[in-house]
């Protein structure tokens, strides 16, 4: 049976991304394998260490940066992570200096917020009600 084992986010600097995604967001490092000029670098949620991995993928391809820039300009998040309580997580992350382009908003079935991952992406937080 086919299944989703990995998803990725394009980052401008893998070391910086690893620090942000682990120290600020709270993911843990799963794989870190040298692959020539980059690393096969993945993180997982401590809530599900054997679950879906997030690949911190270099954005070296010339098409990646304009794409990321265009999404960011319109405030469009590249992907979404789930948290138990968006309101509380926004406060926690702001306390760590994380910048938000959208504060927590109650949209009915879901509460969302959007922050800057410092690696060129906006990321959405969501709590389904």
């Amino acid at each position: 049976m086919i299944r989703i084992n990995i998803t990725s986010v394009f980052v401008d600097d893998q070391a910086k991304a690893l620090a942000f995604y682990t120290e600020k967001l709270g993911f843990t490092k799963k794989h870190d394998v040298p692959t020539g000029d980059a690393r096969w670098l993945t993180v997982v949620s401590p809530a599900n260490p054997d679950g879906v991995e997030l690949l911190l993928e270099p954005d070296g391809h010339p098409a990646a940066k304009p794409f990321k820039k265009a999404l960011a300009a319109d405030g469009i998040p590249f992907t979404q992570f789930a948290v138990d309580d968006v309101f509380a997580e926004v406060e926690r992350l702001k306390g760590l200096g994380v910048e938000f382009t959208q504060d927590a908003v109650d949209l009915g079935p879901v509460v969302t917020a959007v922050f800057d991952d410092t690696c060129g992406n906006l990321i959405q937080l969501a709590t389904m009600k």
Binding site: K69, A72, A73, D74, G75, I76, P77, T101, Q102, D103, V105, L107, G108, P109, V110, T112, V114, L122
Partner: protein
């Protein structure tokens, strides 16, 4: 100028955009689109919302602010003053 103003507020979606900016000023295009879709069931495309914002901006009712890589939309209700100036609101005498 007046023509732009009346045209801008003559559309229900554009009025809803202004309502949402009154509730929370300084939003990205993405946030506005999310609010219109989720809260108001307006299934306009991002391009359509972008064009609505351009018309509101033309009328001076919305200003965009660039902050780093991001663009935020702010409401400015001051152009609406010209309506009350043109047709002053007289307070009714209370009936005895």
């Amino acid at each position: 100028m007046d023509g732009d103003l009346f045209k801008a507020i003559g559309d229900a979606t554009r009025r809803t955009i202004l309502d949402e900016l009154i509730e929370k000023d300084g939003q990205t295009l993405f946030e506005l689109c999310g609010r219109l879709t989720m809260k108001h069931g307006l299934a306009s495309s991002r391009q359509a919302i972008s064009q609505h914002l351009a018309m509101l901006e033309q009328a001076g009712l919305v200003h965009t602010r660039r902050q780093g890589r991001y663009k935020f939309h702010h409401i400015d209700t001051s152009p609406l003053r010209s309506i009350a100036e043109r047709w002053p609101i007289e307070r009714e005498e209370p009936n005895p």
